[in-house]
Amino acid sequence: MPRNLALIDCNNFYASCERVFNPALEGKPLVVLSNNDGCVVARSQEVKDLGVKMGVPWFQIEHLAKRHGIVAFSSNYALYADMSNRVMAILATFSTSQEVYSIDECFLDLAGFERRGFTRYGQEMRSAIKRWVGLPVCVGIAPTKTLAKLVNHVAKKRPQFEGVCNYNEFSAGEIDALMGELPVGEVWGVGSRYAVRLQQMGILTVRDLRQAQPKAMRQQFSVVMERTVSELNGESCLDLEEMASAKKQIMSSRSFGRPVYALDELAESVASYMSRAAEKLRRQHSLAGAVQVYIRTNPFKEREPQYSQGMILPLPDPTDDSRQLVSAAITVLRRLYKPGFAYAKTGVMLTEIIAANQRTPTLFDDVAGMARNKNLMLAVDSINQAYGRGTIRLAAEGLNQPWKMRAGRRSPAFTTCLSDVVVAHAI
């Protein structure tokens, strides 16, 4: 039986989030910049229309920005994550099976909702998201994930679909014509690298790829490409991955706002990232059995001396206590550090993660002490939750954090910090 899958994708997600809380920006060109305000990572439609490409360095378009009044924001991940959670929770009510594929898109299995008419159902999703959280989305509906991705793209690019494109409503001839117009690079899983190779083989459009021999594609590329061809022909090979399982690794890393030379400052950054990772660890009720730290210089500055090194330290007893984890991380950092380099980035990773209730108690457990530590961490987390991240932190994280990433254009944490909520005028 053919399946009916929907792929729902938010339009210009980061840029749209900024607009919800800043309605004066409606209709104005707007970009969101990457870490350290380096590159453009999200563009409003007006900016796309100006020809600004994804990933261009901000300084390259600053003149254009001045001329056209482009407004730039630093990435506000606290806001985007909360808005994403809201979108996903709303969409979950439209199906019994959901795969959250990325921060701004998810797949739904529409089995059981046939009677409502899929196109209309897609429109209901769109208006619910627009209304409840103010974000525009597009919906693609098709028998396979690859096709749902493809028709979602069509829904986005072609206004006549009003945001919902349903593969099942096309005739065979219409599908053929449509796919003949789309370049092969638009297919999910065909990266720009594969696209070049496919073009050399004379496979230029989606239609060409759909008509390729699956077995031959497997030989020349991989089983993934074979599946892609089958999926383009309406044969579902990829299932929804409903995860939500606890993460097996937790990472936290950032680039510095400027080069860092001193061990003290590196230690502050490692302590700060580790505290963040420990917080995530506690939120999923897990313990970590090992701590990994890495440091590196800036590989793009080819003329400067380069150094990049990482190391794992197993812990004597799995823990979620920030103080123990930070102290382990700093021990590792001291082993890794070599003076004389201009460091650009440090990162930490928690591994060998187990559920907190799976820890084997030992004979020498200090039960009362463990309960005290647990309550302390609980108190730290709830204070930071209520008053903003980093309100209470370990002294090892430093006070001024001069190495910190630049995010001078960040909007307030409108939905996650009470002192940052939007203000309505009563005047």
């Binding site: 409840w132 939905t415 203000v423 005028h425 009563a426």
Partner: protein
């Protein structure tokens, strides 16, 4: 078996004695989130700046619970977008269009004609007012 001094044999405390007679009647404690928030994905908090809504019990510094999932009807108190700014007003339907009413004699109403588009951002469900007010918590 002789326990080592200072090392407990059991890691979890064992309840002893007579069970509480109230245990069987225990209920969940009142949770204001449940009471104040009907649609949690569509609910946002908004801070009030200004005194134009005092007649509706909405004061400067109050925290509004705003629900985007419900319809604004005649006489709803809403967060409206006027000239790109958030404004809190009462929405009143009149024959000529919509009137955004203030709740204070010293503040004027805003008329929105039929040809203009009115953007309602959300409907105000609750206003949380701190009675023992300490000025530095107000914005």
């Amino acid at each position: 078996m002789v326990p080592l001094p200072g090392v407990p044999l059991l890691a979890t405390p064992v309840p002893a004695g007579f069970p509480s007679p109230a245990d069987d009647h225990a209920e969940e404690r009142i949770d204001l989130n449940e009471h104040l928030i009907a649609h949690k994905e569509a609910t946002f908090f908004v801070r009030v700046a200004g005194e134009s809504m005092v007649r509706f019990g909405i004061h400067h510094g109050d925290l509004l619970v705003v629900d985007r999932a419900i319809d604004a009807v005649d006489r709803s108190v809403v967060i409206a977008v006027v000239d790109g700014d958030f404004t809190v007003k009462q929405l009143c339907r009149i024959p000529e269009g919509v009137l955004l009413r203030s709740g204070s004699a010293t503040h004027s109403d805003i008329f929105v004609g039929e040809e203009q588009t009115l953007s309602v951002w959300g409907v105000v469900r609750w206003s949380i007012h701190q009675v023992w007010s300490c000025p530095e918590t107000l914005r």
